[in-house]
């Protein structure tokens, strides 16, 4: 479910790329400090984006340190702050339950990689879940809902997407300001809906061939896994509407120094990823990195 939300870094000026990298490194440091070394392996762009949203416009102080990725030269990163702590805990909880889900969904051999990932994350997860019991509860509840809908082969797009969207929007529950909480809730709901539907579109061919559940097959009758012009138009319309609702919510809050990154991601990056997914080039564009994608899935 991860790997779809990413800022179009090539379209951003160098100082914004550097700012995003500082947030990425900041989350990595926070993950290690709060949840232990294994937690840093779950680091990805999606969780960095979440950390930026939760910061609500404040740029944390910059610190410098050496790390495994930069053992010789000290690199600047966003120092710890409550938003990064929150993003780190929630990322670990999400990653852990996704891995557990993978164990349930696969047979013994294929499930091994998920089993290994969830074992490795167990200690980190315990710390994170103890710090955010409510988010942990919502995550478990919504993932259970999702797997029930998958088992009954729900022909609805909105129902399974709602489970993942609600799960993600629960990440906003701890925002202190009530307007910011409402705004983040709406943004994360529609980001979650978009991510779920993109993931379904990305897996469409594979699921159709393997006979796995995919809501798109049942909603549009795409048993051969190929889009028809009509179904593609209808699907694009509904995912674009989610981006519209995400964007209208985003415009109601001043995200300060993160504005260029967020604006480019919302008004350009998501569309580009969506287009690539629909034309089937998203996975193809990552050939040779298939392994990485799987690692991302396990984590």
């Amino acid at each position: 479910m991860f790997g779809y939300v990413r800022p179009p870094l090539d379209q951003l000026p160098p100082e914004e790329q550097e700012r995003f990298r500082r947030a990425y490194c900041g989350l990595c440091h926070t993950l290690r400090c709060r949840c232990g070394l294994p937690a840093r392996f779950i680091l990805n762009y999606d969780f960095t984006f979440l950390a930026i949203l939760l910061s609500g416009g404040e740029e944390p102080e910059t610190r410098c340190a050496r790390c495994v990725a930069s053992p010789l030269k000290k690199r600047a990163f966003c120092g710890g702050n409550p938003a990064l702590d929150l993003a780190a805990d929630e990322s670990v909880i999400l990653a852990y339950w996704q891995a557990r889900d993978g164990v349930e969904d696969h047979g013994f051999l294929k499930g091994l990689r998920y089993r290994a990932a969830s074992r490795a994350l167990w200690g980190s997860y315990r710390k994170a879940a103890a710090a955010r019991p409510e988010f942990d509860r919502v995550t478990r509840e919504q993932l259970r809902r999702l797997s029930e809908l998958e088992q009954t082969k729900s022909p609805s797009l909105d129902k399974p997407a709602d489970a993942f969207a609600q799960l993600l929007s629960a990440a906003a529950d701890e925002a202190a300001d009530s307007s910011l909480r409402r705004i983040l809730h709406q943004m994360l709901y529609h980001l979650g809906r978009w991510v779920y539907l993109m993931d379904a579109a990305d897996d469409l061919k594979e699921d159709a061939a393997a006979g796995n559940y995919n809501p798109l097959i049942y909603r549009y009758g795409l048993t051969d896994g190929a889009w028809t012009e009509e179904s593609r138009a209808s699907f694009t319309q509904t995912v674009d509407h989610s981006i519209r609702l995400l964007a209208t919510a985003y415009e109601l809050w001043d995200f300060g120094c993160w504005t260029p990154i967020l604006e480019h991601t919302i008004y350009a990056g998501l569309f580009q990823v969506g287009k690539a997914v629909l034309s089937g080039t998203y996975r193809a564009g990552r050939t040779g990195q298939k392994k990485d994608r799987n690692v991302e899935e396990t984590t």
């Binding site: 990413r6 179009p8 870094l9 090539d10 379209q11 995003f20 990298r21 392996f41 680091l43 495994v68 990725a69 930069s70 053992p71 030269k73 609805s156 797009l157 909105d158 129902k159 709602d162 969207a165 409402r182 709406q186 809906r193 909603r219 209808s234 694009t236 319309q237 509904t238 995912v239 674009d240 509407h241 989610s242 981006i243 519209r244 609702l245 964007a247 209208t248 919510a249 415009e251 109601l252 604006e263 008004y267 350009a268 990056g269 569309f271 580009q272 990823v273 969506g274 287009k275 690539a276 629909l278 034309s279 080039t281 998203y282 564009g285 990552r286 990195q289 392994k291 990485d292 690692v295």
Partner: protein
């Protein structure tokens, strides 16, 4: 009140034309049409009020410093228009065919979606209005695909009804009418395939020692 120039996002040295341009851009962004049936419409309305007040303030300041004279650039009344949901709350409310459906409209306006849903579930006559209201509840929940299908059914059952037709037209034209700071809005409009491909290539943030870092991520 906040600094009106800051609200409009222009320096004090901006020309009248620049101020007006900034104001119109903001008004386009927070326009009621852009927040149609949006659960955050109240926040957009506050923003719009703030922008209108700032624009009036700047015009007043500039008018008086140049020896007065009323200027014709007052804020656009139309832009502070209605953010209402139009399900029976305002003056131009649609009348429902039944008192239960009228209550559904009131619940939606009050943001009580669970009550609206419960009332609809217990209402056995699935007529055009029932489908329309069902769509409205779905829309407010973010269930956009089902919202559109209910609106479609409503418009099919009662093709002459303007309210149902408008709801469906809004769903069909949502990307075309969406605000975007850069013009185009929509997945299919994203034309530059080479850009898309570049994006798909994994971008190594830690470029100097990407290999080491990537190796770690692969366990």
């Amino acid at each position: 009140m906040n600094d009106p120039y800051k609200v409009l996002g222009v320096p004090e040295s901006a020309t009248d034309a620049e101020v007006k341009k900034a104001y119109l851009e903001l008004a386009r962004k927070y326009h009621p049409d852009n927040y149609h049936d949006n659960p955050l419409a109240d926040l957009a309305q506050e923003k719009m009020k703030e922008i209108n007040a700032a624009y009036e303030e700047v015009n007043k300041l500039r008018g008086s410093s140049r020896g007065g004279g009323s200027r014709s650039t007052a804020s656009y009344g139309g832009y502070s228009g209605s953010y209402g949901y139009g399900y029976g709350g305002g003056g131009s409310a649609q009348q429902s065919g039944s008192s239960v459906l009228q209550q559904v409209r009131m619940s939606i306006n009050a943001g009580d979606l669970s009550r609206a849903e419960a009332l609809l579930t217990n209402y056995s006559d699935h007529n055009a209005e029932w489908n329309f209201l069902k769509g409205a509840v779905c829309y407010r929940r973010g269930w956009l695909d089902e919202a559109k299908r209910y609106y479609e059914t409503a418009a099919q059952m009662d093709p002459g009804n303007q309210e149902y037709r408008q709801a469906l037209e809004f769903m069909n034209g949502a990307s075309r009418s969406a605000y975007s700071p850069r013009g185009g809005f929509g997945t299919e409009l994203c034309g530059n395939s080479s850009l898309c491909q570049q994006l798909c290539c994994t971008y190594l943030l830690c470029n100097g020692c990407g290999a080491g870092f990537w190796g770690l991520r692969c366990l």
